[in-house]
């Protein structure tokens, strides 16, 4: 099946939602507002859980990563920082324009360029930012798993390992939600002992 260079009509709300998120992200970066970025990143999770599309996932990870990056002043003292933030902002502006004209391939290229710009950074800043992006992916995966998508499916969608997600999700309260308790312990233990003994 040939891939089309636009968000298909039924997914129109994805495009508009992403456009809204990215416009607000641009402003939050200018305002140096990590909390707003965190809120914006959370807003993409509902949509990412349903559609599991690479665009929503990439934006969720990107915006969350930026919230972490700009909340730590020491990144800004690194020599490559001005170049990184300038490339990031320029690609973000282009991504907004591409979303406006429904140019899906262009939008994807802009997101890929941001990721590439991290690889071209030198030394510590590259390692810091790469690490933040990985942690952001695991955090977003945990949120999608929390929404009811299985562990392996979530890991697959986010391109991380189930092992990373298990370690992270285990430290959250996901398993303590009342709806997760599906059978009483006695029944389950009895079942285990019956077959194992």
């Amino acid at each position: 099946m040939k891939e089309v260079n636009h968000f298909i009509e039924s997914k129109g709300d994805i495009r508009l939602n992403l456009l809204d998120i990215l416009i607000k992200t641009r402003k939050a970066i200018d305002d140096n507002d990590p909390f707003e970025l965190l809120t914006l990143s959370n807003k993409t999770i509902h949509s990412a859980s349903v559609h599991q599309d690479s665009e929503n996932i990439a934006v969720a990870v990107l915006v969350y990563s930026m919230s972490k990056i700009i909340s730590r002043e020491h990144y800004k003292e690194q020599k490559d920082w001005p170049e990184f933030i300038s490339t990031f902002s320029a690609e973000l502006d282009k991504a907004i324009q591409n979303l406006k004209i429904n140019n899906l391939f262009g939008f994807r290229e802009n997101i890929a360029n941001i990721q590439k710009s991290i690889d071209s950074l030198s030394g510590h800043l590259r390692d810091y930012i790469k690490d933040i992006f990985l942690r952001a992916s695991i955090n977003k995966a945990s949120r999608i798993y929390e929404h009811g998508i299985s562990m392996s499916q979530t890991a697959h969608v986010l391109g991380i390992m189930s092992w990373e997600l298990a370690e992270y999700a285990g430290r959250t309260g996901i398993s303590d939600v009342n709806l997760s308790i599906t059978q009483n312990i006695k029944t389950r233990l009895k079942r285990a002992f019956e077959i194992l003994e």
Partner: protein
């Protein structure tokens, strides 16, 4: 007497055509492992219990599908952070403690079963004009394996630590509610299709370890309850979806044994 000698003879000369799938004995039991269970056991340094369970009860077959082997061995072998864990699991596979499912069912049958069930699970929940893919091929392969072995009248248990598979099989209504609450939107659930997942017997690594604990396979210093508490919380912190409330209940049950 005659019957016995006939049966012995037939064992001495197995049909070479069916040799691969003729390992069934009367007591044979199957524990099907999802990746999530192997992960939490491995990260909690409790994989050794599988070896002990197998040593004590060779009739228990600990099996994994090809998709699960990919998740627990092949993929983590490429990542330094989990390479050691992957090698430890690989060691269990090489020692036949954990076996590939294809030792007992044909790959074609399992692949077809997995495809069919994936088709069902992908259509169970729908929101915003789109089917929600809630499950991954690996998890579905465990369910397919369970169904195939059940059809052959085998005793089977599915061991899953991750939450969604368990909710889907044991209380899909709760899963439906969870999706609606978390997604903040109407989610349609195909109840009829959901019936396919009913009646699947599931335990978690926590129940497996409780058994190991009772059989003194796990021995730790300190009181019985303190040790059990440590084991269950280790599993929980490594991804086993057991609640704090359930852990307390399990400890209470054990204090009376």
């Amino acid at each position: 007497m005659l019957n016995n000698s006939i049966s012995r003879k037939s064992e001495d000369f197995p049909d070479p055509e069916n040799q691969k799938f003729s390992r069934k004995t009367k007591e044979q039991k199957f524990l099907i492992f999802d990746s999530s269970t192997i992960i939490s056991l491995s990260l909690s340094d409790l994989l050794f219990i599988l070896e002990e369970i197998k040593k004590n009860s060779p009739e228990i077959k600990l099996i994994v599908s090809k998709d699960i082997i990919n998740e627990i061995v092949n993929k983590p072998l490429t990542i330094k952070r989990f390479k050691l864990e992957a090698l430890m699991v690989k060691n269990l596979l090489e020692k036949n403690i954990i076996e590939p499912a294809t030792n007992y069912v044909s790959e074609e049958e399992l692949e077809k079963g997995t495809d069919d069930i994936l088709n069902i699970s992908d259509r169970l929940f729908r929101a915003k004009n789109e089917n929600i893919q809630i499950m991954h091929r690996g998890e579905i392969s465990c369910i397919a394996l369970y169904k195939i072995l059940k059809k052959k009248n085998e005793k089977v248990l599915l061991i899953v630590d991750e939450r969604t598979t368990r909710m889907l099989c044991e209380n899909p209504t709760n899963l439906h509610k969870l999706l609606q609450i978390k997604l903040h939107t109407d989610v349609n659930y195909d109840y009829e299709a959901g019936d396919f997942f009913k009646g699947i017997n599931i335990i978690r690594s926590s129940e497996l370890c409780s058994f190991a604990f009772k059989k003194k396979i796990i021995r730790l210093p300190g009181s019985k309850i303190e040790s059990l508490d440590a084991v269950l919380y280790a599993l929980k912190f490594h991804g086993c979806s057991i609640s704090g409330e359930e852990i307390e209940e399990e400890k209470q049950i054990f204090s009376k044994i």
